[in-house]
């Protein structure tokens, strides 16, 4: 379980989060959604302690995160973030082996056990054959899988992901999230695509201007009356084989449609 309670954060004078909260129960996948600049990434960074909250507390399995040493935290929460591409080459195998870093003293090399865990992680996400390739030369989907493999190799029971479907084509978006969903971990995932959230998350936390606008099972959060005021866009909900999916159109068009007499 990972939770944030009443957390606030500001970059200088700019309040990014205020009195926000989130809770992912054991084994749950929680989607963190909201418009650009609503504080999603900041919230996630508070969870893995890249940022220290100005107020409030973050807890891992009931323990305050501030009480955990960084390596201990890394053993319990793995993070998938896409960094700007580095020019210094690293192979897929070495990248995934880095996931073992929190488990080893910094001066020790990787053990045979580490290599086995890394190989199994690559196998798990279906890119074992890429082990000797350079990460920078992979496609977006492959790279995302490698990052997830590294997180798996980290053997943490919490997984935090920042827009893992960014820049991926539709098929890879679903593959990556399906993969995350199938892992036996508690995960929090920042998502832009609300339909992906509807399909792959148990619960959703909707942020708006640094505050939690709605929170609950995806079915309760992903409703037109909740989303429309936050995103400022027309939302219609359709049923796709029992799964709620959303269709969007500009607010003006939505208003026009609403105003149009039913008879036409």
């Amino acid at each position: 379980m990972i939770e944030a309670e009443g957390v606030g954060f500001a970059y200088g004078d700019l309040d990014v989060l205020r009195d926000a909260g989130l809770c992912a129960e054991r084994g749950e996948t929680v989607g963190l959604i909201g418009p650009n600049g609503s504080g999603k990434t900041t919230m996630l960074r508070l969870l893995y302690r890249a940022l220290v909250p100005a107020e409030g507390v973050v807890r891992l399995d009931g323990q305050p995160a501030e009480a955990l040493r960084p390596r201990e935290l890394a053993r319990r929460a793995a993070v998938v973030v896409q960094e700007s591409a580095s020019e210094v080459p690293i192979t897929v195998a070495d990248m995934v082996l880095l996931g073992r870093a929190p488990h080893r003293p910094s001066f020790a090399g990787s053990s045979a056990e580490d290599h086995r865990v890394a190989a199994a992680a690559l196998e798990r996400v279906g890119v074992r054959h890429l082990a000797d390739r350079v990460v920078a030369a992979l496609s977006g989907g492959e790279r995302q899988r490698v990052l997830i493999a590294r997180a798996i190799a980290q053997q943490a029971d919490h997984l935090l992901l920042d827009e893992p479907t960014n820049h991926l084509d539709i098929r890879y978006q679903h593959e990556v999230l399906g993969l995350v969903r199938a892992l036996p971990v508690t995960s929090v995932v920042v998502l832009h695509d609300l339909n992906l959230a509807a399909r792959y998350c148990d619960r959703a936390v909707l942020l708006d201007g640094g505050r939690v606008a709605a929170e609950g099972p995806v079915d309760a959060v992903l409703r037109p009356e909740v989303l429309e005021p936050v995103y400022g866009i027309g939302v219609r909900r359709v049923d796709d084989d029992g799964l709620a999916q959303l269709v969007f159109r500009p607010a003006a068009a939505a208003a026009a449609a609403a105003a149009r007499p039913e008879a036409s």
């Binding site: 960084p70 973030v81 960094e83 580095s86 086995r116 920078a136 030369a137």
Partner: protein
Amino acid sequence: MQTSSPAPAPTSAGTEPPDAPAPPAPAAGAVDDLDRARARRRSRIWVASLSAALLATLVGGVAIGPVTIAPEDVVRIVGHHLLGAPETVTWSEAHESIVWRLRVPRVLLGAAVGAGLAICGVALQAMVRNVLADPYLLGVTSGASTGAAAAILFGVGAAAFGEEALAGSAFVGALGASALVFLLARVTGRITSVRLLMSGVAVGYALYAATSFLIFASPNPEGARSVLFWLLGTLSLARWSVILAIVLVVVALTLAVLLVHSRALDALAIGDETALTLGMAPGRVRARLLVALALCIGAVVAAAGGIGFVGLVMPHLARRFVGGAHRRVLPVAALMGAVFLVWADVFARTVVQPQELPIGILTSLVGAPFLLLLVRRLHAATD
């Protein structure tokens, strides 16, 4: 298991000699470990063969010169001095003097400088995530040149460092410059790659101006030439001295420190956020390593001037051979840098006899086209 590739189709029995080595097919059900043994073997072979090459290079570097000395005499003379064996002197006093007093310290300095520049290049490229970073990025060379120019042209440092005034004041200049670069880089908080690059460039230009002004203001026309010669890098000042000892020790220590941090370097090369999520403290690690690097580069430059391209090219070569993991790259880069610089120096002192070419001219001459070649390959790999 999916990973163990299907066993190769058995060739018809009898066509192969009975003692043919079995194909290294993975045993059925063997646990996949990314072929760790192969990777280790490969990097050990590199380290072993480069170590052998370095040994041969050290002997060859002493043997070759305006006066050629038989390699067995080189070994005897060095053995005589280090181990007391052989005890009987079978060589001329001139050879003794050339080998022990001139060339051995020179070759040792060359090896240490080459290794030092190579490992500092590896580490800096990782820390600023840029493969065009070289050891002089920290403003060290420009600081050292200003110090050296002040010593050569105006005798600065003579009081404090005596005979070693040149190296001493170059070292002080180097450390002063890197301290300034750090301070500027962290004015607004954490040291980041971009801030480091920017302040390195700024300090570099400012000190370049200072050096030029010193040359301009000096009444000594010969001095300008000496400063230029030093700037281009030279091992001609090498002798048994405290400087040589400092360089050897500092380079060895730096290699050790970097090896201890090799995984942190891997992570920093990917990015600070990644390092952080792996339980490291990227800001602190970077600051700590930068101090070690500044000391190492400062010592190297003070002893040998600004030798270019070694720190830029060797890291690329090493990565090509053993992959990107710093635990494997660092020793290989160190050995390659050492071998390369000793040979470059051999050429520098033999090619235009009896003159001596500044070694930096040679390293740049070899390095520039080489770098272009690497850049082309780099694109081929990532496109």
